[in-house]
């Protein structure tokens, strides 16, 4: 009798919810949704899922009465046990959309798209646990360095230097990747693998000059003689994360927000300045980077399109990056405000502003990659006692590169790239220049971010 009630109860329920229970315990239902394509398919899937949930829920209330009885009549014992065990998992999983359902190929039925969905309790596995490892203070890396006799250092010293730089670079890479995956608010948007690796190289290269401060300890694992008197060394280095992150962040922020001077016709200038401020990039006349902007209206029959170009240059005329808009974005009927309107739309457009931002970031990154911004040191020519040594002396300064010297009226001008800020450079220059200049030389004055001058 109980058996019979059970069968009746389940049958009536399955007829109502249109869910069939197959012999192996698989629950199966067909559902239809209006329309065609993925939207209709997902609609049908959702509908089928809902029907399966309501079926399993409804079934639960019958448990005390008869389900056990009924299931044993229809299903194998194994399937029944499994079904009983998995009921909660199935319910929770279906609600969360995490249960693997089997879907048939969709079929067309008039205006509807239909599909058969089945759930096999056998396929349910335990949800996988996510493993999060706590990050440690130090990171140990094993790296190989190579070196040859050069610049008065032994091959071994050079190999060690090389290995340490590699260690730092490797850890920077790990840090950048982590930054990328953990938060989207890094000061630099690393969008793809390529850019990430170029940033890693760049920062690693820049930081490696200070590797002694970053590598806490290291030990030689293996040394090997190379041809031409070279040495290959394998070391295990422990890199401290805190100072590394600090220095790398500094570098990143320097790339992100140097001061920029904007030269552009109005209203592009105001638009650009506002935009730069919104991006946290400082604007000022005394900047060593200049943003040149140009805007043109392009005639398209009765309508107008806008062509914008912006490039980033330093005071020496090097161009670090260039952006031009996609003028196909919008065309407006020709009237008095057409240029302002178009410009507003172009700068409000996400893709355009992202491209501009990207171009500027790229330009600023290039500035760092090239060894910092160009500065000019102006010395009164007559107070220079050993002008022939100026180049060599400046070149020995840490962080200075691309030194060139030229005359300008009464001044000897040394133009150079420096990685740090202008104040730091002034101090460094002052110290080294005492040996080759007259005593009457004045104190160095920082005129602006670009010019350092002696009287």
């Amino acid at each position: 009798m109980i058996k019979k009630i059970g069968i009746l109860a389940l049958c009536s329920l399955s007829a109502q919810a249109q869910v069939e229970v197959l012999a192996d315990g698989t629950l199966q239902t067909e559902a239809c949704a209006y329309g065609r394509g993925s939207l209709a398919i997902s609609g049908a899937k959702a509908q089928a899922g809902a029907e399966l949930i309501s079926f399993i829920k409804g079934n639960k209330s019958l448990t005390t009465q008869s389900t056990q009885q009924h299931l044993t009549t229809n299903l194998s014992d194994d399937a029944t046990t499994l079904y009983e065990q998995q009921r909660t998992v199935m319910l929770e999983g279906l609600n969360a959309g995490a249960v693997p359902l089997n879907y048939s190929a969709p079929t067309l039925n008039g205006n509807d798209t239909c599909m058969t969905v089945s759930l096999n309790p056998l396929n349910l596995g335990e949800p996988a646990e996510q493993n999060w490892q706590n990050t440690t203070q130090n990171i140990s890396v094993t790296v190989i360095g190579q070196g040859w006799d050069k610049k008065g250092n032994t091959a071994l010293t050079n190999a060690e230097q090389d290995a340490l730089q590699r260690a730092v670079s490797q850890v920077v890479g790990v840090w950048l990747t982590q930054q990328h995956t953990q938060s989207s608010s890094t000061s630099l948007n690393i969008t793809d693998g390529n850019e990430s690796s170029s940033m890693q190289e760049l920062i690693g290269q820049q930081l490696s000059s200070h590797s002694e401060g970053l590598v806490k300890e290291w030990q030689t694992l293996k040394t090997k003689e190379l041809a031409n008197g070279g040495v290959e060394i394998t070391i295990m280095a422990v890199v401290e994360k805190a100072p590394l992150i600090q220095q790398a962040s500094q570098l990143l922020s320097m790339i992100g927000s140097p001061r920029v001077h904007v030269i552009a016709p109005e209203p592009l200038k105001t638009e650009l300045k506002t935009w730069l401020n919104e991006q946290g990039i400082e604007v000022g006349a005394a900047a060593s980077l200049v943003l040149y902007g140009k805007s043109d209206l392009v005639k398209r029959n009765n309508n107008r399109q806008l062509r914008l170009t912006v490039d980033v240059r330093d005071l020496a005329g090097n161009i670090y990056g260039k952006w031009h808009n996609d003028s196909s974005l919008m065309a407006l009927p020709n009237d008095a405000h057409v240029e302002t309107d178009l410009m507003a739309v172009h700068l409000a457009s996400e893709s355009q502003s992202a491209a501009l931002h990207q171009a500027l970031k790229g330009a600023f990154t290039k500035v760092v990659a090239r060894g910092g911004l160009v500065r000019e040191v102006l010395l009164p020519s007559k107070k220079l006692t050993q002008p022939e040594k100026l180049h060599a002396v400046l070149s020995t300064l840490g962080g200075v590169s691309d030194v060139s010297i030229h005359k300008q009226h009464d001044y000897t001008v040394a133009s150079l790239r420096y990685k740090g800020d202008t104040g730091e450079l002034a101090d460094a220059v002052e110290q080294v220049l005492t040996t080759i200049t007259a005593n009457t030389l004045s104190k160095i004055t920082v005129e602006d971010d670009f010019t350092l001058r002696y009287q």
Partner: protein
Amino acid sequence: MKVIKALALTTLTMALVAGCNSTPKRGSSTQQGNVSNNASNTVIAKSAYVFNDADIAMPAYFDTQGLERCSFDVNNETDSCPLKKPIVRMYFDLAGVSGSGIGVDAMREFDNQNLLLMLENQFAGINRFRIVTRDDDAISKEQQLILQQQGVVTAAKRAEVKALIPDFVVKIDSLRTLKTEGSITDWADYTLELTTGVINPQTREKLSHPNLGKIRVKSEDVRDRSELKFTTVSGRYAAGFHFDQSAHVNAVLSDMGSRGIDILLTRMLSEMPATAQVLGIKGNKLSLDRGQNAGVLPNETMIIFSYEAGFVEPLGVANVNPSRNSANGEIIRWKDSNVATDIKNKAENGIYRPASGAKIFAVSVGTPADFLENRT
């Protein structure tokens, strides 16, 4: 018995001898035809209600590709999906009229931009192509209004969506001619000739399909000949049709252009018929797997045919009305054949669904009978 044998032998011998003696005659598979310069006319489908048994035959260009490979995402459809429609940009090219003579100056000034927009509208309606409009003024005006009414952020967001890239260029080339008698009382006879080319803009290939041929429209198709009668005095206009004023001439030419486009449309619908797969037949009722989305038009006359192992077998003719994604129709006349009767019997007792081996399709026979009345 022997006599019969001998007789038969004799007859055979005689026949052989006769055959040897006759000289072989050269056959001919071609014949002379006349090139006509008559005005073109429309060819439209008969209504399914007036079909007789012999009329139920297969039209050309049916396509038995199913919807299995379709993603139903209009912008991301696979090439093998029959719902994928080529994206086209349309051009209406009016060959310049050079020379001088009576009425030639007035004919020269003809604005084809509006004819182009009309062409775009009419072609969009038959849903064989996706058309990228060249109505730049309306678009830019609309963008300006969005900028005014919704603000710059919304306008910028909207502008991010790019225009469709055309797969093909549909170009209507046209030729205008004017003929007059040169007498004091005269008639202006305008002729407009249209040809259509479908061009792949990358490879510069002109495609062979759809082949819409040449359409010739004469002024007498759109105006009574007496309306174009005029009188000149010393070579100057005196009375009658204003052959020398562009507004009057354009009125005639626009009507001719419009008629030409109508003919073009009907040819297009015969060249590119809509095919749909039959999902089921219940009595005389049909359920088709595509509708508006495949270009099925209201009151479409469709031939129902079964398709098995490369052979098609017409089953009947139906009157079909589309919904958005599917279509429903009624078989008005079943073909008098065993296959058709078999299916008809099966469908009488419930829903007949074609078995997996054989498929049933419906293909339109051309422009629906009431199309010209209601849509042109």
